[in-house]
């Protein structure tokens, strides 16, 4: 299905870049998306808010088309889509915007100053919540089950009369688990609580329907769905209307929720990426599941003590989070220079601390330190999956041998 040839497999000593298996960190821009974007960088460069002339109108029309494409991906109305600079901004706007609006308009919203989220959420949700705590809001970080999923009865018990918002990630960036969105949505709706879901990893990968799932706010990222970096979107429900205090105010664009000149080519890219993802989702998910299972089974045969973190069934088709007991993940990554993988989320991958997500699943530090994340994506092939099996198995074997030798005192530590 791809229009680009798979890049050559790294050979011995060849200077080809490593195989890209980090698609939860970022994805390659789909060439079809690039093609759709390019004219809006060059000939159609008008400011989309200068609608008094044709340059501006061409840009404005392209943005509205893109808005429709993004809306269609999640069964929303185009008027419910607010373009942002990315999922980080969308999550900040959703969480802080909803809370601060409720505080600023206490008559519209009964005193609701309590937020429920999970300790495994992305940093941008957790940091937004931490900021709200400093502003006097109460936040419950509801522990997850060992498989990474939220227990619905515990969530129901955590909701109080003061609960304003529940924020739960649709599909996880490190462990790939997919939360029971429809059930969470139904629960929130019944209790009059807003439901926000960070769908940066899920949008375009699994079916999302904001109506059926009773989602009130939903965050989308461009560069996680083979679209451009620097753009994202927040879905904001209109009926019943969800109100937010904007983070960025000014010219009044995006119905006053997000001011600033809209980047036409980036919006067009996000729209096109959403359209492609929507039309190819079913087949692509099946293909990725096949590649992922092939990689996992191949590796499990050669690394018997291998274990999978996160629910094995309810997870993103392309995601694996694997523990190699007795091996330090950074050493394994270093031992496998021909593949690009990571220890967890990119934002924090430069830090040496074990993943807070794996800790929240109850993994002891030693095992959390031995986990790597593999993210298969649209441009990966079966040959690359097989190559990754060989690279990881060989790397793991080398490190295991080395540590055995060290234990016997044969080589200096």
């Amino acid at each position: 299905m791809t229009t680009t040839p798979a890049h050559p497999l790294p050979g011995n000593g060849a200077n080809t870049p490593p195989i890209y298996l980090d698609n939860q960190s970022t994805t390659r821009l789909d060439p079809r998306v690039l093609e759709a974007m390019l004219p809006y960088f060059t000939e159609h460069f008008g400011n989309p808010h200068s609608t008094s002339h044709v340059y501006g109108r061409i840009a404005a029309e392209a943005i509205e088309r893109a808005r429709g494409e993004v809306a269609a991906l999640i069964s929303a109305d185009p008027r419910e889509i607010v373009f942002t600079s990315g999922a980080t901004e969308a999550n900040n706007l959703a969480v802080k915007g909803a809370a601060r609006f409720a505080r600023a308009h206490p008559r519209d919203v009964k005193t609701r100053d309590h937020i429920v989220t999970l300790p495994t959420e992305h940093k941008c949700v957790l940091e937004s919540c931490a900021q709200l705590e400093r502003e006097g809001f109460a936040v419950t970080y509801l522990p997850v089950e060992p498989n990474g999923l939220v227990a619905l009865d515990k969530l129901a018990a955590a909701l109080t009369e003061r609960t304003l918002l529940v924020s739960v990630m649709a599909a996880h960036n490190e462990i790939g688990v997919i939360q029971p969105l429809a059930e969470i949505g139904a629960l929130c709706r019944a209790r009059g609580v807003l439901f926000h879901s960070d769908a940066a990893q899920a949008a375009g990968k699994i079916p999302l329907d904001v109506e059926a799932m009773h989602i009130d706010l939903l965050s989308i990222s461009g560069h996680k769905v083979y679209g451009p970096k620097g753009v994202g979107a927040l879905y904001v429900r209109r009926r019943p209307r969800v109100r937010l205090l904007p983070l960025i105010d000014g010219g009044g664009q995006e119905r006053g929720l997000r001011s600033g000149t809209l980047p036409t080519p980036l919006c067009v890219g996000l729209g096109h990426a959403a359209m492609i993802a929507a039309s190819e989702m079913t087949g692509e998910a099946a293909r990725l599941r096949g590649l992922r299972d092939r990689l996992y089974q191949g590796l499990a045969r050669r690394v018997p003590e291998l274990s999978l973190n996160g629910d094995p069934e309810r997870r993103l088709a392309g995601n694996l989070n694997l523990t190699f007991p007795g091996i330090e993940a950074p050493a394994l990554i270093e031992a496998c220079p021909t593949i690009a993988i990571s220890t967890g989320s990119a934002c924090t991958s430069a830090t040496v601390e074990p993943s807070y997500v794996l800790r929240a699943l109850g993994l002891p530090d030693t095992l959390a330190n031995s986990a790597i994340r593999i993210g298969l994506g649209r441009f990966n092939t079966a040959a690359e999956a097989d190559f990754a099996v060989d690279a990881l198995a060989a790397g793991a074997a080398r490190l295991t041998d080395q540590s055995r030798l060290q234990q016997r005192g044969r080589i200096p530590t």
Partner: protein, 381 residues
């Protein structure tokens, strides 16, 4: 700049709203868009992206005469202005009355510094405001106005602000790339830049922030940009911004020619129409901007008539050009409402030509004569 599109000639004179992408930026972005990698990942794809981001940071710093460590990449001028005004957490904020709406909205409770008839900040008024209240303030004054091109005495403003323990923020979105910037020379603590106004892509900008200024982030999360702005780095945007910044600095001399074109345009207008007014004409201005009033004809009418003739200008700031209402900038300058309501903004750029100016003058003059004809007929009747 003209587009050779059939069936009519189109002349773009709305450069202050958005400039076309410079070819250097197109090349840099096309290359970056074809690559993959998250600049925060430790693997090779990530490290390559990181190198590109840091190289770009140096280029953008150079445009503003700043140090690379001061550059915080953000999504654009509006976000940068919010971070600048809200990030330092100063209780007291003073902004000039002619600031961009993103500054005015970022600090809704700000006190306004009045301007004179040319739109220049009254230094005496600023000094009075600073003396009247000793609590540490933040002063925000733009380098050049987006509607009139009028430039502020930012070195004096910075000095005054610092003398009273205030921080100084300068929105340089319209000035960058059109005149030589030197943040160090006017010693601003915070400077806002936008890429798409200087030939870079939309969706990327920077706040230049002295590392001694403690900023509370607007967007929290992964801790990118030294914790001052979270979110995956928009690498293609950053690469395009840097390429445009380098090209703009290298080609800044082209604005001598642009100034001559703009001056000729204004001279021609006042020769044709003695009742026409060029706003801020007596003040130091950007070389590319002209705010011209055709008294008696609403700005919207002019913009539509000029658009029908293939000439693209605006009735003021683009963000609000969809709305009808008097410009807060002209109001602050004390411009009479009828004059303010009949003012259009003509803004040129590095590709503007004599032919563009002639096309504009032709269309403007035809409209002017039509309107005057109507007015005379009405009087005769």
């Amino acid at each position: 700049m003209r587009s050779g599109g059939m069936p009519r000639i189109e002349t773009y004179l709305d450069w202050n709203a958005s400039a076309p992408l410079r070819p250097q930026a197109t090349t840099a972005m096309t290359e970056a868009l074809a690559r993959c990698g998250n600049a925060s990942s430790v693997h090779r794809w990530g490290r390559m992206a990181r190198r590109e981001v840091e190289r770009a940071r140096t280029a953008v710093a150079a445009l503003a005469g700043a140090s690379p460590a001061d550059v915080i990449f953000v999504s654009g001028g509006t976000e940068a202005n919010h971070l600048a005004l809200q990030g330092p957490g100063r209780q007291r904020v003073l902004v000039s009355a002619v600031e961009h709406s993103s500054v005015l909205h970022a600090a809704a409770a700000a006190e306004q510094i009045p301007v004179d008839g040319d739109g220049i900040v009254r230094l005496d008024a600023l000094a009075d405001l600073l003396v009247a209240n000793p609590s540490p303030a933040l002063v925000s004054v733009m380098l050049a106005n987006n509607e009139t091109g009028v430039m502020q005495p930012v070195a004096e403003i910075a000095e005054l602000a610092h003398a009273h323990g205030a921080l100084f923020h300068c929105d340089a979105v319209q000035a960058a790339g059109k005149i030589v910037l030197d943040a160090a020379a006017f010693s601003a603590d915070l400077v806002t830049l936008s890429a798409h106004k200087l030939g870079g892509p939309p969706g990327i900008g920077a706040l230049i922030a002295n590392t001694e200024v403690d900023l509370t982030p607007l967007l929290r999360g992964g801790g990118q940009e030294r914790g001052r702005r979270s979110g995956t780095e928009n690498l293609p945007g950053i690469a395009g911004f840097a390429a445009a910044a380098e090209a703009a600095a290298a080609e800044i001399g082209v604005y001598d020619r642009v100034r001559a074109l703009r001056d000729a345009l204004e001279a021609e207008i006042t020769a044709i129409a003695p009742d026409a007014v060029v706003l801020g004409a007596e003040a130091p201005r950007l070389p590319n901007t002209a705010a011209i009033a055709m008294p008696g004809t609403a700005a919207e009418t002019q913009v539509i008539a000029l658009d029908l003739d293939g000439v693209m200008v605006s009735a003021g700031a683009a963000c609000s050009s969809g709305k009808v209402g008097p410009s807060h900038v002209l109001k602050a300058m004390g411009v009479a409402p009828d004059v303010a309501g009949s003012t259009i903004r003509v803004s040129l750029g590095w590709d503007s030509t004599e032919a563009d100016v002639s096309h504009f003058l032709e269309a403007w003059t035809a409209l002017y004569r039509r309107r005057r004809g109507f007015a005379e007929e009405a009087r005769a009747a």
